[in-house]
Symmetry: C2
Subunit: 195 residues, 2 copies
């Protein structure tokens, strides 16, 4: 998605060979028209798949998931993250390990909001090691719902998450697929240049 | 705002005399067209106030803040919540006490995203004791920006937050102002019936 790639090039900050900071438009400050364009793009890619529900993870997944839900005309559910849950009654839960923070959080979704009749689009802002996506997929599996695919705003293609998911036959749609952050520069995968 | 009040009456669950559960459309599952209507309503109330930035708190403030930002044509910033921060460099921080959870979190906002030239609309999903709003106001004050007012989706009028803020001369706009949750019933303040 060219508009997103241009934004990453103009406003993203490469902090290291593995860290891209996009907090000026995606995960601290939000650029609403860009989120709308992201929602329209995901809706275009997944329309005709009979999606009934979007599932994401707080907090940075909420903006793109809600805009996609608005265009597709379906609700967006965000899983909650906690260190440990006391009340897991009537909840699906899964563990998500963060390599960056070196901590494991339990994520949870109420059983009221994902049903086995649902066709679910899982979404997140970043795909790196794939741990958050795997946790969300675990919840979809527990619910018995059908997975339509995964929508990712920015994929770090040099980290293993994308391969891990695609090898399982899961459809992963990425709007900005980064090949490398070497030498302080963002390089996109060629395929991502084709919208 | 009638549409929101109707949604609260049809889908909200009164769990006690002080707890209203709205997780089917606001703070766990999100109803995107309702968020759009909420954004339009806040934009209508605050248009002409020269707002340049919206400030909210993760996670449940993000959806209404982003939709308001989309209509007003300004970015939405969400403060991050943490138990304690190691890196507070280049950040505004404030403490927010949660009476419900009986814990204090530090909230933080990058100095890059609130400047002293800004006119800020502070937003949140709920107003009860006012602690989150006070934390966000503290951050606006630290930045030297101008406060346009506070936009609240649901105010629990029987808790002290609203009075606390209005007594300071702050403009608080509430879309659904709840007078009472007694006897398992939601009663709105009469003034809130007038849009």
């Amino acid at each position: 998605m060219k508009k997103l790639q241009d934004k990453i090039l103009s406003d993203g900050k490469v902090l290291s060979e593995s860290v891209l900071k996009v907090d000026s438009f995606l995960n601290h400050q939000i650029d609403p028209p860009l989120m709308q364009a992201i929602g329209e793009e995901f809706a275009l890619r997944f329309k005709g798949n009979g999606i009934t529900r979007i599932l994401t993870l707080e907090s940075s997944g909420i903006a793109p998931a809600m805009m996609t839900g608005l265009v597709l005309g379906v609700p967006a559910v965000f899983a909650r993250k906690r260190k440990s849950l006391t009340l897991v009654d009537h909840m699906y839960t899964a563990n998500v390990h963060s390599f960056t923070k070196n901590e494991t959080n339990e994520i949870s979704v109420s059983k009221d909001f994902i049903k086995k009749e649902d066709v679910v689009l899982v979404m997140d802002d970043f795909l790196a090691n794939g741990q958050a996506a795997l946790g969300l997929l675990d919840i979809v599996k527990q619910s018995g719902a059908t997975l339509a695919g995964i929508g990712i705003v920015i994929e770090k293609g040099f980290q293993p998450g994308g391969d891990l998911l695609r090898e399982q036959g899961i459809r992963v749609e990425t709007l900005a697929h980064i090949a490398s952050l070497e030498n302080g520069q963002v390089t996109f995968l060629a395929e991502a240049d084709i919208q």
